[in-house]
Subunit: 361 residues, 4 copies
């Protein structure tokens, strides 16, 4: 099978590097264009990038010449790791020009006709692309977003609990430094320290999950009607966001029923068969001191969410801790899974993924 060419916007930044790393050896996608700042444009990727992940960049991408943000792109599929300000107009321009854009940027997440996808939780929201195309007069282009990296484990933990009626969610996060990009958090600010505030994240955690857990009705997302309150803190760990969650449910399931809901959760077809989908999206860890950020962030190659410590909360009814890898499942990895879903659903034009194991609707 021929792979489809993809472009990575903001390819030299921390999340951009994660896109490049995760796309090495991808069965369907091949990085053909890397887009950086005007300062990087014209250099080879290996010269332009200050690689902050382990090891070094993949050889195939190293040799690519970095393009500027306003250069024309030839790849039908575009992944965006742009900072918010740059993302805002450019992503819509590219979608209007016929590209399918899967973005990690926050700029357009709350736009009404932009799906905020976490495939296991809301694969049906891809239907919003039809609305988007019709409304905007696009035929091949589309813009799809993934959520904030701290909202992500919350949505993954909550999706299987929708059946019990979610009323209130109280969240306190402990977030890794990689969530702030590079150079991001100064080491003098975080070594032997905790910062009780992460700029912008609390608001996102109080809104994004409501959209993501909502339902596509009448060509729009009807937000889930819950009260959500978040506190975000930064801790001295490299990768992995842990969220301490208390939740009030309409029904009163037993703890075992909740655990069963998580462990049996796989998301709707064809999500479990997508190349980047983890074998098990949610693991419940029975040990009393898990999930731990360093030890559990790489579960399912960083694509699974680890949950533990489910117990009664004297105030809201239930509480537990949920953990996800913030730059894999919480960012680049989620966008890639989103693109895989779009491919199977036929939103990538004539591209037909080598994918026969499941009946596509």
């Amino acid at each position: 099978m021929d792979k489809i060419d993809v472009a990575v916007l903001g390819a030299t930044g921390a999340v951009g590097q994660r896109f490049v790393q995760l796309l090495e050896n991808h069965p369907w996608f091949r990085v053909s264009e890397v887009i950086g700042s005007s300062r990087s444009a014209g250099q080879t990727y290996s010269d332009a990038v200050n690689w902050v992940l382990d090891g070094g960049p993949p050889e195939a991408v190293s040799a690519l010449q970095v393009k500027a943000l306003d250069d024309e792109l030839s790849s039908p599929l575009v992944f965006s790791a742009l900072p918010k300000e740059a993302a805002d107009p450019r992503e819509f321009e590219l979608a209007a020009a016929g590209h399918v854009v899967c973005t990690n940027a926050s700029a357009n997440r709350m736009v009404e006709d932009v799906p905020l996808l976490l495939p296991e939780a809301n694969a049906d929201h891809v239907g919003l692309i039809d609305v988007q195309r019709a409304r905007r007069g696009w035929t091949t282009g589309a813009l799809v977003a993934n959520s904030n990296c701290t909202s992500m484990p919350v949505v993954m933990a909550m999706a299987p609990l929708r059946r019990f009626g979610i009323r209130k969610i109280h969240m306190v996060s402990e977030q890794a430094i990689s969530g702030a990009g590079y150079p991001g958090v100064a080491s003098l600010d975080i070594l032997d320290n905790v910062i009780p505030y992460v700029s912008g994240d609390e608001g996102k955690m109080e809104t994004e999950p409501r959209k993501m857990l909502g339902a596509l009705k009448n060509e729009a997302i009807e937000w889930l009607d819950v009260v959500a309150g978040a506190t975000c803190t930064r801790v001295p760990v490299i990768d992995g966001h842990l969220v301490n969650i208390s939740v009030e449910l309409a029904e009163q399931p037993s703890l075992d029923e909740i655990i069963a809901a998580w462990e049996s959760f796989v998301g709707p077809d064809p999500v479990p068969q997508l190349p980047s989908a983890p074998a098990q999206p949610v693991y419940y860890l029975p040990q009393i001191d898990r999930p731990q950020i360093r030890r559990d962030r790489n579960a399912g190659q960083g694509m699974s969410t680890s949950i533990g410590r489910l117990r009664e909360c004297p105030i809201l009814g239930y509480k537990f801790a949920a953990l996800s890898h913030n730059t894999i499942r919480g960012a680049a990895g989620c966008s890639i899974l989103n693109a895989e879903l779009l491919a199977v659903k036929g939103y990538l034009g004539s591209f037909e993924p080598a994918y026969s194991s499941v009946a596509v609707l």
Copy 2:
């Protein structure tokens, strides 16, 4: 003035070392006896101790010979940094033998006639000593405890809010490794990691504050009637426990009224005049990213509580973060302040502290 001799139980452990360090140059107290394990007994303190604080032990104490736990003690005042199991019978034995014991151990905190003191918050609970002595037939002995190191900042933050009617307290802590003593947390368990569980602490946080914020009535403490729920996590910082608190109040004070309540809080006379009392027990930090564990744990020589991020909570009404130094104000420093209060209140026998600046009741 002559100083009063004090003994330190568990003097070679991490909290015991903090007692020894804080008592160097104390105006009223002089460390005359150090008590260690049977393995340490007979050695000089400097030989027996593996000093884990900065620098080394004070010279005067270094030369003392370590006594065994069942050796007879001559000091009228005893500070206990014993582990729970050792503390249980021995502290009562010493009190029965006429010593005033100020303990950091958790063993006897919930015993009905043992005051759980945080002087600014509940100095009047010392009255329970009269009950204790009468009930047990003691004349000079007494047993007084300080709270768990994570309960401590909660009580300090809540005491000034009692006037608004406290109904519910939701707590998520981020705790330093020194809270687990030495050797305590293995470095392989905590470097680049967060552990979402601290053995025993959640239960303490859900009960101790209720006793401490309660009222002494009819020779007993009437616990404060609140619903308290706690999650305790361990983070890779040396010292300092941060607690993310959401609270429901009966009244609806403005944020400014709450800040004013904290900033004007000094505790009842004679607490503010005690040698170890901080100039200001509670600091409200207006910066959006404070309190930070490393930067604020030493406020008031580690005796003040730093609070920040007061804002509305969509679920319980108010939320904020509170931070205290866990081995100073949350442990040894609090016991020393407790002893100072006892001294001024006349519970240390004929010892009269050099203390004239305040009218003692």
Copy 3:
């Protein structure tokens, strides 16, 4: 092909866990017996182990029942992660009983007829097994050791330089906490700290490389005649030992000649074809700030040594930094590679590895 059964001594410790982890899916070896302390014996491995690596133990091994150290073993091949004291007599007993023992313990490394193997550097030392067997009257048993985890990168860096005549080696290490096992280094001792001493390691670094870089002559190892001096320090990183090396050579090669010696180094046949052998044993990193412990420790799946910063030393002539993963290539991974070499060389009895790509001598 049928796999050969292997036993892991000290399987519940930190290095034992690494053996179990690395042997999952090994093409030739299958973990069939796990041996622990008397306290663990009789439990399943998953119950007995406090898994300190990421994730959890492999399922197949989890179900094995832990054996006691003096239980009889049925596996022909034994990996030892025993502490020094336990290793001393037991490893020889097992070898005498016919087992091939590949050990990470330091106890018997300096025994004259025990090869201290790092295959790329001294594969020919396996010939010492013939001497060992003849001298001790063994037919199928053998005892083979790998080096100390900090000696290891030094030997890997020096082996390609033997051609230039090595005269003096000055070493200053910065070592990860995992080198001390579990619980090992207390977090209070290492967070925000450097400890300028690692018990026992300096002596090993000054002797082991001399044996390893020596020559097998007349049925004995003739040590390399160099002066070696080491300083070992502990730093707050999880895995990876970095050694700052200054070296005096008899010849005066150019820096480029030294780099070429490293980059072309693969070790003698059949080493490069062994399943655990890295594609390139030594990588020279041209960036001025590499190798970095976190970013380079996993090079070659943790089996490669990364070298950087080669430059002139005003005192000894040349200096550079070398880095290896201490619990993979510096411990369990090396023992496994050693066993693979023994298998191909015919020291594992009738076991014939699926291995045809190279002419075995």
Copy 4:
């Protein structure tokens, strides 16, 4: 006594903050002017500064209005924490304008008539100021520098050993992140990591100590004739630089003689009587695992150097570890001590410090 007014250049940076912190309550000096970037100029210090040390800035300085770098200054004494580029011309301009400038910047350290002062080691180098003034036609102005923060512990350790004839010094440093200023080292670059390179520091360590340990002869510093080689690495600690030093001496003193040389070292009069001089400039720690960065960096309020692990080096004869606080004794604290020496020596014009306890030469 009246205090003398001082200005701090670069007052909002990390080292500038340390100047402001250390000068609070100084007996002779009072911060009257704070100079920042053009962006900060005009704001109050508390508004302009992002205080990165613990707690917050002193109240008296908080209210000062920040001046721009080219504003005229009225303070006779100026401390400079400027970055190298800004320091180069401005420090000479200020000295030419009559100010005594004590700088931490590296820009002018190697200028022939600028003393590079570490008072205990080379107080007599202040005589170079007379040369400087004569040569440049200055009457009241002067420019005096302190050394690089990693050179500093080397010079302090070596000064007492000059009597034995220093021939070669081999140095490997482990340096704190605060040495890079703020924001300085990105947390993604240093958490769970060691960087084997610190830009610029190796060259400084190979030259500055030779000037500092040299002799003032014929109106110039005659550098010490030693061969010095340095490797600098960055480790994840907040403050404190540790240097692993091997040294070759002309004589062969016993280890005890070397220790005695360190412990008896106080520097020439009047240095020991200066307000910021530590009671003991060099402490030799007999424990095998000291000095440790976190536990010993604050010895002597951060003004003492801690040495340990003296032993034979198979290559150069002797080796040991030396540690100093890099932003106190290695930067701001040293400049302040330098200024105190200048004051007593009469280089601060008519200012007469309250200082009678020693006969000034």
